[in-house]
């Protein structure tokens, strides 16, 4: 299951994204960030919550196509060592 996200992910937009992140019974979810120019910690919080949720049900969450600004934030916060970046 792949979810493509586009547009900035910040305090304003995160609640909207959170509502649309419905994984159902999928055991492998790929979040495609190709269309995300930047992401603040509000977005990171969603990614961490999703990752923990998938781990809890024995599934896997993958983050694909993180752009430079997003990848930098993931690196700074240590999230690139936790999440599966592809």
């Amino acid at each position: 299951m792949t979810i493509a996200v586009s547009g900035r992910v910040d305090t304003v937009t995160a609640p909207e994204l959170e509502a649309s992140l419905n994984f159902g019974d999928a055991t492998c979810v790929v979040i495609d960030l190709a269309g995300v120019p930047y992401m603040s910690s509000a977005g990171l919080r969603l990614l961490l919550a999703s990752h923990k949720k998938m781990l809890a049900k024995g599934g896997e969450l993958q983050i694909a196509n993180a752009q430079e600004a997003v990848r930098e934030v993931l690196d700074i916060t240590g999230f690139s060592g936790i999440l599966n970046l592809v």
């Binding site: 900035r8 910040d10 305090t11 304003v12 120019p37 930047y38 992401m39 603040s40 910690s41 509000a42 990171l44 919080r45 961490l48 919550a49 990752h51 923990k52 781990l55 430079e68 600004a69 930098e72 934030v73 700074i76 916060t77 240590g78 060592g81 936790i82 999440l83």
Partner: protein, 675 residues
Amino acid sequence: MTNRRSLNLKLILSVLAAFLLSLAFSWFLHDRLSERDAYALIDRTFDNVQDELADCVNERLVLVCMAAREQLEDGHPDDPASMQKLARELRVTEVSIADEKGDIVRSSVDDYLARPGRPAFNFAATDDKVANEMMGLVDGRYTEYCQPFRSNPANGNWRKFVGVWRHAGGFFEIGCDAKALQSLARSTCVDLFRNWHVGGTGGIVVTTPSGLVLSDYEEPNREGTQFQEPDGDFFYWKCKEIESFPVYVMIPKGSAAVQRDVLVGSTALLNGVALVFVALLVGFVISAFVRQQMRAQAAKEMKMATDIQLSALPNVFPPFPDETRFDIWASMETAKEVGGDFYDFYFIGKDRLLFLVADVSGKGVPAAMFMMRAKTLLKGAEQTGKPIAQAFEEVNDALSEGNSSCTFVTAWAGELNTRTGHVTFVNAGHNPPVVLRGGKAELLKSRPSLALGAMSGIRYRTGEMWLKPGDEIYLYTDGIVEQPDESGNLYGEERMLKALSDTSRHGKDVLDAVLADVRRYAADVEQADDCTQLLIRYRGEPDVVTREYAPTMEDLARATDDLAAALKPVPAKAKNKLLVAADEIFANIVRYSGATRWSLSVVLTHNPEGVRLVISDDGKPFDPLIHRDPDTTLSAAEREAGGLGILIVKKTMSPVTYRRRNGNNILTIGKDYGD
């Protein structure tokens, strides 16, 4: 120093006291020992005298007794009267003849002979053991026999008896009282004792019982005179009667004490040497300890002086967090712990930045003290806002007054109008600054005025110039250009200008690069003088947009849109970082600060291009810079999402400064992307 001197005095006194005490003890000990030795020697001497004198006297009396035998066996009459006559002739007291049974058969003494109703004295029958021994002459054990001088148990008279055997059986016997004994043995004694020395200078005196000197080891001529007992103050002495002679053995105390004196003397010498050595050693150890303490104290004070001096200079960069028209950096590397250089900068009015670099002649503590004074005077004069030249004239007069050490200060001070870039400056004998413009470094030559403190009443010339946005001005002291290399050649202005021309470096990196270049040039030669640098980049007037917001999600969205619009000319890479950082701060304010309103100023700076976001809120005080960073090494299960925003801001923005002013949190974040 007084303490140290009295310490030394105490040390010497106590060593001296110990020395004298040990000497006194040693003297006392050896005095006792020598007295004991003297008396032991006297007792030994008496034993020897006893033997020698007895031998001597016995030998003489045996000869006398043999003379009596000769005469009597030759037919000398042996009636009592004749016997008495014989005794007189032989100068003895008694002469007797005993038969083989031990009976006295002839004698000059009637009492020994048999009388009616009384047997003769019999040597074998008497209880007297000494007398019994005479029978040895009869049974052949002795040919001659000498009794000691003693009181005769038979009649209580003091006698010495000597016997020799008789050819017809039995024996002849002579008896001597003290007087007879002495007259017989006199010459023998004199010969025997005259040269008998006791313990070096001691000796023996023999007298008659009445005290007439028979033999005197000391004064042979005194013989026959009355003997005076020795004085106990000057002699160890004892008297014993031997063979009827009173014998004095005496040792002068001075002679006995020779050994003591030698021992005490050598002890004194050894002790003295040892104590002097110990005193020197202790003194050395103490003074080394004191010196080390003083050095440590001096080093500590020097460190404090260094800290005081450095803290007197503005040393937090950037010094003006909201300042967007210029950047300023400065550094000072002292050659010793403290230096004579200084830099300074401060606003002396609205848009008027004063900046200066100065160099006190000399180095070390004297220069540092003069430097602190000069710095304080300059700031005091400049901060009144008067023109630099006038302030310099006042400071020069103050420093020149009573300047007995002839110390002076070279200084270059400029006043930058931060709005226009106009600079007025005064050069008091200092090195010309460098202007960096369009990748070129050029010296700003001007005719210098006299150094501060050299002479009072000097007029200072004012120069002027314009800094265009993007221009830089670099101030330095001669520690940079006059650093020698191994062969003594100086670093010089050319090398400095070349190092400054490298446009790939900015800000503090420029200062570090020049200093590194100087160090490279000096190689193993140590830093010759204090190296002080100051760099100002004039950026010019920024574009500023400020808007106010309410603490709502709607206004947060509006602020984000406003920011995105304002950042349109900014490259995407920098813009995205700024948007992320801003979102973190906006979210904190709206959610947690309790603010009633907040504002955002977007400042687009130039030369180089950059952005400063000044975000102000009236919420509760919150300094994100002292907030602890979350642990980014934990696993997914352990990680919390909190605190990440501030971490992102701190990592992606430079500068990040926080102030609390007038009830507002003012956070300035920014990024230069033009370099």
